[in-house]
């Protein structure tokens, strides 16, 4: 047989851009690139034109001008003389605070409900099913306004606490006041406070730093104690009693620091129109917190249940065969494995919580949207800048959370060999 001729070397023809698979993908991408850039240019051009028609410009200098309005809940120093940018920061911190505490409580509620839903106790399992279905199928916004209405309509006004024979009284030995303006709880105070240090934007309490430092130190000492006990156990087979050492290591330093700082509680007291002293958890915060916790908790419960059901029955049986009690089986065998299935959807629930905090609008909680995108853009008329800035901030938060999720996913991935 004669040598098979090489396929003829085609010179490049224009039509190959479309028909030749080697070039087609490039062609498509270039067309797409042009379309995309065209669309983007169109949008930007429209915006510029519209801004010019309205006689506005695009700049963020309003963030440095005086805000002039007050914010009721502020985690950092803020007065109405502060700037709009500062107001934005206050709002952002309120958003993050709400998101954080909701994530924590929603996880607790969700895990408990998810486990309880699989309980062998008939009535508990049924109740949890009702809870999960009721909360999953009714809009979050409705729950928020319901909880808010419960707080404002059903709780006594501060004036009901007044007088010799008050209509309402404080709870827990007169330390907690539940009113229709929110809940007043005792606040931690120090006789010999160390003061604050100024970090430029934040004031950080040195007391807090001291306590955290004591906690961390105690944690490490405890780890050393437990590690030593384990080594002794491995060497001799007898585990020394360490529980009192652990307690001492964990709590001793903290208590010492608290005593040194002169720790005491400041109790709420009825003065004038309102309670003063203590920490004021406002209605709006409580309503949002409760609604986000219970609503998201129902979703997390489903994730937890699915995660537990995903673990093969054999694992439970094996644990029973080893003589483990059901509780220990759950905590030592099932849950650690189920976590791998549970955590990714759990983190997307955290993402949802963070985004859903923007519903604060319904109850007047001063979150990022209410400050930056509410009052600020109203006073300054910078809706374009304000909205873009807010979207950017939310996007950054979301991307940070998903990045954390990806890192976690990689770390717990089943190591397959």
């Amino acid at each position: 047989m004669a040598n098979a001729a090489d396929p003829p070397k085609d010179s490049f023809r224009l039509s190959m851009l479309v028909y030749d698979t080697r070039y087609r993908s490039i062609t498509i991408q270039i067309v797409a690139l042009f379309l995309f850039m065209g669309a983007a240019a169109w949008l930007v051009d429209n915006t510029i034109q519209n801004l010019r028609t309205l006689g506005k410009d695009f700049n963020f200098s309003f963030l440095w001008s005086r805000a002039g309005y007050d914010i009721n809940q502020r985690l950092v120093e803020y007065t109405n003389d502060s700037s709009h940018g500062r107001a934005m920061l206050v709002g952002l911190l309120n958003t993050l605070l709400l998101a954080f505490i909701s994530c924590v409580t929603a996880t607790i509620v969700g895990v408990l409900a998810g486990v309880a839903r699989l309980s062998k106790n008939w009535i508990v399992a049924r109740l949890m099913t009702i809870y999960v279905e009721a909360f999953r199928n009714i809009p979050l916004l409705l729950w928020i306004v319901v909880f808010f209405a419960v707080m404002t309509e059903s709780m006594p006004a501060p004036s009901a606490f007044r007088g010799d024979d008050p209509a309402a009284s404080m709870l827990l030995f007169d330390t907690v006041a539940v009113t229709n303006r929110g809940v007043y709880v005792p606040e931690p105070l120090f006789y010999r406070s160390l003061g604050d240090i100024d970090l430029g934007i934040f004031l950080v309490s040195l007391d807090l730093i001291a306590i955290v430092a004591a906690l961390v130190q105690g944690f490490y000492v405890n780890r050393a104690i437990v590690g030593r006990a384990t080594r002794i156990q491995e060497a001799t087979g007898i585990r020394p009693t360490t529980w009192w050492q652990s307690i001492l290591a964990l709590f001793g330093p903290v208590i010492a620091v608290l005593v040194a700082l002169g720790f005491h509680l400041g109790y709420p007291e009825l003065k004038g129109f309102n309670f003063t002293g203590g920490t004021h958890l406002r209605n709006s915060l409580i309503a949002l917190w409760a609604a986000l916790t219970i609503y998201t908790g129902a979703f997390i419960a489903e994730n937890v249940r699915a995660g537990i059901l995903a673990i093969s029955r054999g694992q439970t049986e094996a644990a029973f065969a080893l003589g483990m009690r059901p509780g220990r089986t759950m905590s030592l065998v099932i849950l650690p494995q189920a976590l791998r299935v549970i955590i990714p959807p759990l983190i997307s629930q955290y993402l949802n919580i963070t985004k859903n905090t923007s519903l604060a609008l319904a109850v007047g909680y001063m979150d990022l949207r209410s400050t930056l995108d509410g009052i600020t853009i109203n006073q300054t008329g910078r809706e374009l800048e304000g909205m873009l800035l807010m979207m950017l901030i939310y996007l950054l938060i979301s991307l940070t959370i998903s990045a954390a999720m990806n890192v976690y996913n990689r770390s717990v991935k089943l190591k397959e060999r």
Binding site: L54, D70, F273, T276, S370
Partner: protein
Amino acid sequence: MKKSVFLGTLTAAGLAAGVVGAATLDDVKARGELNCGVSTGLVGFAAPDANGVWSGFDVAVCRAVAAAALGDPMAVKFVPTTGQTRFTALASGEVDMLARNTTWTFSRDVDLKFTFLGVNYYDGQGFMIRKDMGVTSAKELDGATVCIQTGTTTELNLADFFKVNGMSYEPVPIETNAEAQQQYLAGACDVYTTDASGLAATRATFADPENHAILPEIVSKEPLGPLVRHGDDQWADIVRWTLNALIAAEEYGVTSANIEELAKGTNNPEINRLLGTEGDLGAMLGLDAEWAKRAIMAGGNYGEIFAANIGEATPIGLARGLNAQWTQGGLIYSPPFR
């Protein structure tokens, strides 16, 4: 094909769309409807009834403008706006004008690029409180919880008032008047603050108005009036002079009852120019001669509108006070029609 589904949606959108250009009057005429921004519901000023028909003091201004520009006082689409959304709604062209208890301030006029077209109600910020609280002056409000509607000048005035008097307060920000009212009635705040007229209107809807007092302090000047976007002077003139026509009509004694008769011609040249039987003021505005006549017929003159919606005979029961004609010792004053 799938992409064209999406494009199709957009195009269908385009087909269904009206178009707002620089000439607002042309757009309004082409649309056959005036888009008027009003509040989300403040009895007496702007509120829908059970059938969704709007009425009130601010609504009457919209209807008069629609009557002048389109010939039909009912050709108005009312867009409810909150304190927060009103300016963006106007700036974006969603509404042609705003008649919504909006205070005329320097920065709104100059910096937010709006044109205020006069004042239809001179107001000031006040405080409402339960009588049994035993407070008689706003200076005694130290430490009080105050309900405020957000996105208004109110919260800035409030901050200033408490600061000047060295008092502290707890603001409870709220979106709409209805919610603020509920919060106040439930006792979630001690005081409700907004424009005094708004307080009176709100109090009128209570089951027990006699148990609530409006404190004597008026802490700010709140000239309320309609406004439009910068940049379309013809449209601004139409709205401005429609409002002036209502005011002038009261001054000259033109009412919805006698207007037909007066429109046949009188010996007062001012009235004749107003009603279009003399001169061509309408044409200068780009409207026909009878524009002001239609505007006045829509709801009567300024005094009639006031009396019918918020006057002393209504549950809201506001006295004319500052809002009387200048001839009666008030501030309401229209430039001459000539």
